[in-house]
């Protein structure tokens, strides 16, 4: 069993990378063992504590979009500043098959990069559909390319790559790509579309769910979806 930091531990920011006009990647000093799909609770003392999927565990890396007061505050943090993390928590993705198709919607792309890295390290083929509403919201495409992934971009307005939502574009390409397993992370509607698609094709699928998380350790019940605890039973679910 890898060590879990039950109480928030300090990690210094080593580097901040601007991924887009509102997404930053925080590379931290230090590492821990974690699986792709697992998450950490990021504490800013005096502000709040929120869940984020890991983009890498060595060094610990988080990719965060500025969407509210907490993430705005986080975006003001600079190299040398400290972030506090507890975790990693939850059940991550399991690698299966020789050719993986990853489908990411919006910021859901981030944890898939961790999965792609692990899959590529194991010599597997990886195709990834990066979905975004418009060209300037497409993130991490170069990182997936650098890992040797087959990258397909889908924007809803067609401003970059294929026009359409990520699952629609993925389904059109499915025959050519012919993957052994599907993996998805993104908004609920997108996950449902990928789940249905996998059902139609008889493909195994793993989906990473989001929820409002308080305890992260399976006791408070805040994150439950029909009795399923996103923080402890998930966040990744095999459909």
């Amino acid at each position: 069993m890898p060590t879990v930091h039950n109480l928030p531990q300090p990690f210094k920011i080593a580097e901040v990378i601007e991924e887009s006009y509102r997404v930053k990647t925080f590379v931290l000093e230090g590492s821990f063992e974690a699986e792709p799909g697992q998450f950490v609770m990021l504490w800013l003392p005096g502000v709040d504590e929120k869940p984020f999927s890991l983009v890498n565990s060595n060094p610990v890396t988080l990719t965060v979009a500025r969407v509210g007061p907490f993430t705005s505050e986080l975006h003001r943090r600079k190299p040398g500043d400290t972030l506090w993390l507890r975790g990693p928590f939850g059940n991550g993705f399991t690698l299966e098959g020789e050719h993986l198709l990853l489908i990411g919607g919006g910021y859901g792309v981030a944890p898939l990069l961790f999965l792609a890295r692990k899959a590529r390290e194991g010599g597997r083929r990886v195709s990834v559909v990066i979905g975004a509403s418009t060209a300037r919201d497409v993130i991490l495409a170069e990182d997936f390319l650098a890992l040797g992934c087959h990258v397909i971009i889908a924007t809803e307005d067609g401003s970059r790559g294929f026009r359409g939502k990520a699952p629609e574009v993925a389904e059109e390409l499915l025959r050519d790509i012919n993957p052994d397993a599907l993996y998805a992370c993104g908004p609920g509607g997108m996950l449902e579309a990928v789940r249905m698609m996998a059902g139609r094709r008889g493909l195994p699928v793993q989906l990473s769910y989001e929820s409002y998380i308080r305890c992260a350790i399976g006791v408070c019940g805040s994150c439950q979806r029909s009795g399923w605890l996103v923080c402890r039973d998930g966040p990744v679910r095999r459909a």
Binding site: P10, M41, P45, E49, W84, Q224, G227
Partner: protein, 310 residues
């Protein structure tokens, strides 16, 4: 031939297949989760405390494992009476075929709010548990009613009058004499007592020099508080006749038997869900049966209060 030990108990005339009750504040947020706990082996389940109006609760961090137990200050987050009534009604329907009673926990800032909650919930739940002992809302609500015998008795009497179902009053360990308060709520009409709520505490992060919980102060639960809980149950059951639900740090069948030997009729399970998962209920019940067989007990009535012998 030796009979399989019988774990069933009676609480205010209601039969529980075993004495293990899901404590309030743990997993009691929805009908499916309550049913999951019942299927995992609980004898009864308690909902998250419900207030008249929805409450957001405190910002995070709200729950932490500090090494020897948990500490929490969730701040009584709940969707309010209207939504909780729906959750309770749905849960009750689903729990009925399983034979697992439902306890609705209620919380208010004033005596009248407690009474209004009990009146409106009517006979929807099988029991009402009166949470007068949350240690985490003091800044907003003042000292918990459970720290003052007169106030505790006043709330108990008001809920007893308003309620159609047995009333359990949940007491705080953060007092000088818990037995005195237990007697006050019994005299005011409590049908049962549950104890203890969490022990008030704090965890500090040395790197930031700040308390880790956003509320600064929180309630400690888990293994660290078991001896405190056992002492409280012992002191309470020495002076009251109503049944007591012993809560605090029970994570094994051995712990549960200790609680019953201290005088408890039933046993609350909370933090054990963190240590052992939802499966804790079935596992603890199994361990109780094994230990009872080993020690030569056939019923929990033989075990109850053994620690009180001269």
């Amino acid at each position: 031939m030796k009979r399989e030990p019988d774990l069933s108990v009676e609480l205010c005339g209601i039969r529980l297949r075993n004495p293990l009750i899901l404590a309030s504040g743990i997993l009691g947020t929805g009908p499916d989760l309550l049913v999951r706990v019942a299927r995992a082996g609980a004898g009864a389940v308690t909902t998250k405390s419900c207030s008249l109006k929805p409450r957001k609760g405190h910002p995070n961090p709200t729950v932490l494992d500090w090494g020897h137990g948990l500490i929490n200050a969730v701040g009584l987050a709940n969707p309010g009476l209207e939504e909780m009534s729906r959750i309770i009604a749905q849960a009750k329907e689903l729990l009925k075929p399983l034979g697992v009673p439902l306890i609705a926990s209620i919380f208010g800032g004033k005596t009248e709010e407690f009474a209004a909650l009990a009146r409106k919930l009517n006979s929807l739940p099988d029991f009402i548990e009166v949470n007068i002992s949350c240690p985490n809302v003091e800044a907003e609500m003042g000292r918990p009613f459970a720290t003052d015998a007169r106030m505790a008795a006043r709330v108990t009497a008001a809920v007893r009058e308003a309620s159609q179902v047995p009333v359990i009053v949940k007491l705080s360990p953060n007092v000088t004499d818990i037995a005195y308060i237990a007697r006050a709520v019994e005299e005011a009409g409590a049908d049962a007592i549950s104890a203890i709520n969490t022990v008030s505490g704090m965890v500090i992060d040395i790197h930031s020099g700040r308390p880790v919980l956003a509320n600064r102060i929180g309630g400690i639960s888990g293994p660290a508080i078991k001896p405190i809980a056992l002492r409280c149950i012992y002191e309470i059951t020495r002076v009251v006749k109503v049944p007591v639900i012993g809560i605090g740090g029970v994570t094994s069948g051995k712990d549960a038997l200790e609680m019953i030997m201290a005088g408890a009729t039933a046993v609350g399970i909370g933090s054990a869900v963190y240590y052992r998962g939802v499966e804790a209920f079935g596992q603890i019940a199994g361990e109780m049966r094994d230990l009872m067989a080993e020690l030569g007990y056939e019923t929990l009535a033989e075990v109850r209060g053994l620690a009180h012998r001269a």
